[in-house]
């Protein structure tokens, strides 16, 4: 039987939408026909840039599909969606073993993806410079508000760079 908490999570519309979007994205990434090419593209190019571009491409594809059906992907889901996609791609590449992408590079990928997304928004007029500046200030403000938490999190990454251990495959959900 399904436990009550699981049923509750299933019934969360936002969660369902997010899962749906992520599922569609993952269907692309894990398509047998393309994932080998994905890995090859990442390994042969500059990985940070390559993964960032792939993530943007997938999100753009999802947005286009949604728009064709008069739907709009909730903007607030984009960061989580992007981060989840980055994590999935990094897992794939790291498991391949030829190159390793650590947590810091994942942050850099996200930074790059945000940059490109915002640049496109500014270029298309969807986002004005003023709005972008406001976004920046708001981000800084929010970061300041969470400074104590950050200080704790920032501590370990000042240590020598370490490649995170791979999660055991075939095990439990992590």
């Amino acid at each position: 039987m399904i436990e009550p908490q699981v049923e509750q999570e299933q019934g969360n519309p936002q969660q369902q939408t997010f899962d749906h979007l992520l599922a569609k994205a993952m269907k692309l990434i894990y398509n047998d026909k393309i994932n080998a090419q994905l890995i090859k593209t990442i390994k042969t190019g500059e990985p940070v840039q390559a993964i960032g571009n792939i993530v943007l491409t997938v999100i753009e594809k999802l947005e286009t599909s949604a728009a064709k059906s008069n739907k709009q992907i909730p903007q607030e889901m984009l960061p989580d969606l992007a981060l989840s996609l980055i994590a999935q791609l990094v897992e794939l590449v790291n498991a391949d073993g030829e190159i390793q992408i650590d947590e810091k590079k994942q942050s850099l990928i996200f930074s790059y993806a945000v940059q490109e997304y915002m640049k496109k928004g500014i270029a298309s007029g969807k986002i004005t410079q003023e709005e972008a500046q406001q976004a920046l200030e708001s981000l800084k403000q929010k970061q300041t508000e969470t400074a104590p938490q950050q200080a704790q999190q920032a501590q370990p990454v000042t240590q020598p760079q370490q490649v995170p251990q791979q999660q055991p495959t075939g095990g439990l959900l992590t």
Binding site: N35, K61, L83, Q115, P164
Partner: protein
Amino acid sequence: MPAGAIGAIGSFIGSLGASAGVATGIATGMVYGAAIGGVSAAISGDNILEGMFKGGAIGGVTGGIGNVLSSGAKAAATAAEAGASASGVTSTGGLEGTMFAAESAGTGLTTGGLEGTMFAGDVGGNIINAAPAAELVNGSSINNPGLSMFQKNAGLLKQTNPTKGEMFDKLIHGATNMSEGSGAFWGHTVGELGQGLMGKMSADAQREAEELAYQRSRKHISPEVGTALNRVSAPRLVSAPLSYREKLLARGQA
């Protein structure tokens, strides 16, 4: 000012936080720092990666930027100041073409229909409509949209009288699709999979199907749901011998 743009950015910002960090294991501070760096670079016209390349050896500088990102707002200044003209962008044209072509083609019986109805209705809407077809299998619970979708496909599959290999492939796709509609429910359902359908498969094939479906489905599930899923599905699959990812990589290397 474009209507909704501010709201969109506000939402974007608002969503950054603990949940974003949790989603990937990246520390929340690093996520904030990365976002600030990205927005700042977009405004300034600089390029984060260009700055990284110009700064020196990629590994060292990446580490350096990573440290800065983790420490917060300095990320913006460092990344933007270091940036210069836009660097060349890795081409994904071929990849994109392949991706689109693959999606257009669908993946066969179990996913073909779903591709076309991706956003045609509310999430799960079209899947729910498949409920009557569930009777083709066992007529068991159709309350779950994902299960209904799977049962519909299983029913169609049963009609086609496929070979064991085809059955296996379709089963995986079906279970994967099921997770789209139902999220956490898959772990419970994949073990049932319609006993009439599974009767055509060996026990080994069934276990392998469950494992593959599990590995694919876990990619669809957010950490919150995944945590709950552990309780549901772990006992069944804890001894799975080979992950989907490993098989995937093995094929890629072949």
